[in-house]
Amino acid sequence: MEQEQNTLFQKMWKRKGYRAELRAASALAIKQWQVEFSYPLSVLWFIVMPFLWFIPLILVGTAVAGGPSSATLDGLVGTSDWITYIALGSSYTGLAISLMWGTGFAMRREQNAGTLETLMTTPMRRDTLVWGSMLHNLQHGGLGVILQLAASILLFGVTLDWWGIIPALMIVGLSVIGMQGLIFTIVCIVLTAKQGWMIVEFLSSTLLLVAPISYPIAVLPSVLQYLSIVSPLTWSVEGFRGFLMNGIAYSGAFNAVMALIILDIVFVIVGGLLFKYTESYVRKKGALSQF
């Protein structure tokens, strides 16, 4: 028995390479699902969440427009169907929030549960902790997007161009990379500020404000428009909605893809470096488990 344990221990320490890290990330994602399912309310929240965010937007739109079409929106973006415009934009919000909050706070949750230091001593790369949580939140948020889109089609008459689904998924793929850079930054805030949820709430609310979720960026003040252009969330929402509304005929495809590729490179490099520096700084300070 003891020998068996020693062999397992040695095998664990010898593990290396991307496949080993992927297995670790996958195990972390599964663990998070198990934690979530152990809270019955989490399951209920997961099902109703997309609707609770979407319905107030529909109610405001109906109160203001008084019908299913808007001439003002048509003048701004070339479609008068405000319900489809908002439904597709807001469906992506669930995924973005899940990635930012779920992944950004994964380490804080471990810290609260007293398991962060233990996890940090396991023989895996430190950033695998973040990637594992991202994998879980991608599944979690992705299912939310599917749920909201299905309900929007069935209940609110939203129409999709089915040819746009694969390109829209590719946009999601590009978006996740850029968002990961942002998430690394959030993790740094959480690790150093501890009660950093307020800063993260501020950051995520600002990103959501400048993202074209329920309105085009043309209605934003010019300062915020500049901020919007350098946010990966902006191009993710634009690309995702553009492909699902117009299919492969989406005219803004080149701009959205190019902007996402450039922002992905910048955000991943900056976020990765920040994480590496912060994680080593916090460990040197011995402040990993501090509240």
């Binding site: 809270y39 019955p40 309310l41 989490s42 209920l44 929240w45 109703v48 969440m49 609770l52 965010w53 319905i55 107030p56 937007l57 109610l59 405001v60 739109g61 109906t62 109160a63 203001v64 427009a65 008084g66 808007s70 003002t72 929106l73 701004l76 405000w82 908002i86 609260n112 549960a113 500020a193 009660q195 950093g196 307020m198 800063i199 709430e201 501020f202 609310s205 600002t206 959501l208 404000l209 979720i213 329920s214 309105y215 085009p216 209605v219 934003l220 509240f291």
Partner: protein, 300 residues
């Protein structure tokens, strides 16, 4: 030196036994409530980033609705909105909604989460073994939330009126304070109910999100109450802030203070307050017994 420490220890033992001998259980301990509230406010101020939450975050939450209304309906308030709401300025309408909603948001996220925070800090069980009535602890948590909620609502109101140019009748100040006072008392009962749920279900983030988003969806913050289906309107009136928003909005925008409708609103809010306090305290007592019997109090 050792003798001195021993003497100090004996003196403190003597003092505490005096306290215990003269101790009589009370229905309400205001000193404990005050101490708990001050402790919570000290913790809140300990994290300077709180200023971001208190001051600016609500602007980021409600600005998207104003931008969306602009994108869908144009820069001017639409005729349809004026027709169904009775008000000619969407921004003026929304700012009051958010101002009052801040109190509901604080009562949802505050009282119950206080207990969760005590649980994470490992101080929930010791807190529940102190010889003070539970109502003092609950009210202490509620007081600190009211202070934070008021600061938040006032900053939001100040920034919104400056930024968007919304103006209101100055005569609305006194009736607004009266309505807010009764509404906040009702919200305390609402908060006690949530604290009970958090003691049982533990995970406050999901529960608070669920209650917060649902109550926000059915509250007439960004749209008039008649934009909701009839059964939902009934549910909306069961939340104390709904009557608060409607009454304060009418007085603040029109400047007209109708004594009859104001009294009706106060009576309705008072009735809701009594109802929520009865349900809230009963729920909390049940939840406390339930968690204690199962040894779940400090569990995650």
């Amino acid at each position: 030196m050792t003798e001195l420490i021993q003497n100090d220890h004996e003196a403190s033992l003597h003092q505490s036994s005096d306290y215990l001998e003269t101790f009589k259980p009370r229905a309400m301990d205001w000193t404990a409530a005050k101490t708990f509230a001050i402790k919570n406010l000290r913790i809140a101020l300990r994290y300077p980033a709180n200023i971001l939450v208190w001051g600016f975050l609500p602007i980021l939450w409600f600005a998207p609705y104003i931008l969306m209304a602009t994108a869908v309906g144009g820069l001017e308030t639409t005729a349809h909105f004026t027709e169904i709401s009775g008000y000619g300025d969407f921004i003026q309408f929304v700012v009051i909604g958010w101002f009052v909603y801040m109190y509901l948001d604080n009562s949802i996220w505050g009282i119950g989460n206080n207990f969760r925070w005590e649980q994470f800090s490992g101080t929930l069980e010791p807190l529940f073994t102190t010889p003070v009535p539970r109502i003092s602890i609950l009210l202490g948590a509620a007081f600190s939330d009211t202070v934070q909620g008021t600061v938040q609502a006032l900053i939001l109101f100040g920034i919104s009126t400056t930024m968007f140019g919304a103006s209101y009748a100055i005569t609305a100040i006194l009736p607004t304070i009266i309505i807010l006072l009764v509404m906040v008392i009702g919200l305390y009962g609402f908060g006690f109910m949530l604290a009970a749920l958090i003691l049982v279900f533990k995970d406050p983030s999901v529960l608070s999100e669920l209650v917060s988003e649902t109550s926000y969806m059915i509250s007439p913050v960004n749209y008039p109450i008649n934009a909701l289906p009839r059964p939902v309107q009934f549910a909306a009136y069961m939340i104390p802030t709904t009557i608060g928003i409607i009454t304060i909005r009418e007085i603040a925008i029109t400047g007209a203070w109708n004594l009859l409708s104001f009294s009706q609103a106060l009576i309705a809010l008072g009735a809701l307050a009594v109802l929520f306090w009865i349900i809230g305290l009963a729920c909390f007592q049940f939840a406390e017994n339930w968690t204690k019997q199962r040894g779940h109090m400090g569990g995650f």
